[in-house]
Amino acid sequence: MALQRVFVANRGEVAVRIVRACHALGLEAVVGFSEPDRDSLAVRMADRAVCIGPGSASASYLSPERLISAALGTRCDALHPGYGFLAENADFAELCTRHGLVFVGPDAGAIRAMGNKLEARALAQAQDVPLAPGSVRIRDLADARARAAEIGFPLLFKAAAGGGGRGIRIVADGQTLADAYSQASSEAQAAFGDNALFMERYIADARHVEVQIIGDRHGNVVHLGERDCSLQRRFQKIIEEAPSAHLPAPMREAMRDAAVRLARHIGYFSAGTVEFIVDMERGQFFFLEMNTRLQVEHPVTEMVTGFDIVAAQLEIAAGAPLSLMQSGLAIEGHAIECRINAEAPERGFAPAPGRITAWHPPEGPGIRIDSHAYAGWMVSPYYDSLVAKLVVAAADRAAAVARLRDALAQFRIEGLETNLSFLRRVVAHPDFAAGSFNTRWLEHNAPALIRDAA
């Protein structure tokens, strides 16, 4: 079935990204927007835009009825959910299909299977995808104590229904186990409506590496290489790069194979990401989770592969076979992305909404900006604080790091607080240049970097 008109059920930079991909393929894009997003860039670029509700996401971007109603009323034949909001909501994907809208993503079954972390672990295990030493579902505190003795400290509590870094607790020793258990359990209940937890060994010297995969509706699945997203704060990624530096070649291959195996096993189609944690000390990697959607950091993969992931999602949704074979994949050079947020690092990275009065992004070869911002745009308090993704690419990692430093130095945003100067300090650090960091590096170094940036 050929698509003609796509409803964009998201906002911000990803809405802009989807509109661009639609236009690149000659498709019309209809953007559903909330009241505070009326003047957004995606609305300006869209072929048509429809106000779907007030600022509160529950009455707009998180409302399946309003989104589908607007999509049908504007005679769209497909809906792209972007990331966040309803992108990994299996019921929503099903509802779209039932109303004759092609959901631009995997089918509801795949979303559901990977959405439950325990089920995802079981599927991974069945495909010989390595799992971190850990438990199945924990029944109660006594059960947690018994499992903790097997796994050893430090360990992690994770919400079975969780994802995106929410509902995770680190437990240092047996004394804090009871408190951590009750906190994690009630946090999981509040965030996901399900208090089921499981435990996992906490890997102190870890890197976060994820494999981008893409599949079509005809059973073809390929990987597009991996990304390293180890620079995180509170489990939120800040800087991502492709390919992963310092990964032993056999591990890289094994990881890519594991990701493709898992995706193929569940009949996965559209773009997806299989996340792994790499234990640097032991030289092992373990399955974390699979994200059944477009990833925020997808541009770094696009920069090194020349493959348009969002356009491919749309083509696959329309039933087209993959245009790429695994043997045709070439990864060239190195790309790095920084997330520029409206936040105040010196105030605990508190979100800092406000109106942008001056907007001067860097320009030049190998620089890509994915953003919805412009001078005059109001960063509203309703949504996340992401203002732009700055992506650079160069022939190798050292050149990419140099280009990133230049680009960050050029970037000027006025009118609100951002993490720009904090990012400049991060990329100026010798550890960053050397590529020697783990998932705790940023958290550990943030206080000193903030002091230096001030």
Binding site: R44, D47, R48, G53, R66, L72, G73
Partner: protein
């Protein structure tokens, strides 16, 4: 909001299309240009022809206030109207859509509209329905006054906050 498609046909263009269909061997024609959707048939059962119903077959329910069926050989046309700017009269107040959805002027297909231009309304009066995926939401007037203008046609998609009626409030 932009509308790149020139989705408005002139009456003359429409008449020309009808004339061509009449002279042709076709029994029926369906035409889509941007948001403009047009169906006409010469014989047989009347064809239901609305933007919403065609786009959402799943929502066709016996109880739905579907817009009237087109009489045979008389094409019904439904095109999504652009948001009309409220008249300049500052004394007028707009009743706005509380939710995005499909707007209906009457409680059932074929029934009389809830309100006409010139009607006097009470705050609690229902002035229309907005369907959001099979759920029909009554739109209350919210103020007492006289309906000066209806801004939206039956079965049009309305946006959240879109003006539906212009009301001259009581005592102004």
């Amino acid at each position: 909001m932009t509308s790149p498609q020139s989705d408005r046909l002139s009456a003359a263009e429409l008449a020309k299309i009808l004339e061509l269909v009449e002279k042709s061997d076709f029994d029926s024609i369906e035409l889509s240009i941007g948001d403009f959707h047009f169906t006409a048939s010469r014989h047989g059962a009347p064809q239901r022809t609305t933007t919403m119903a065609d786009a959402a077959p799943a929502s066709v329910q016996p109880s739905s206030p579907l817009p009237k069926s087109a009489p045979p050989a008389a094409p019904a046309v439904a095109a999504t109207a652009p948001v009309s700017a409220p008249a300049d009269d500052p004394a007028l107040i707009a009743i706005k859509a509380p939710i995005v959805g499909i707007f209906y002027v009457s409680p059932e297909p074929g029934a009389a509209p809830f309100v006409h231009e010139g009607d006097r309304i009470e705050p609690g009066a229902t002035v229309g329905l907005i369907e959001v995926m099979k759920v029909f939401n009554a739109v209350p007037a919210g103020l007492a006054g006289t309906v000066v203008r209806c801004l939206v046609a039956d079965s049009d998609l309305v946006e959240h906050g879109q003006p539906l009626f212009l009301i001259r409030p009581e005592g102004v």
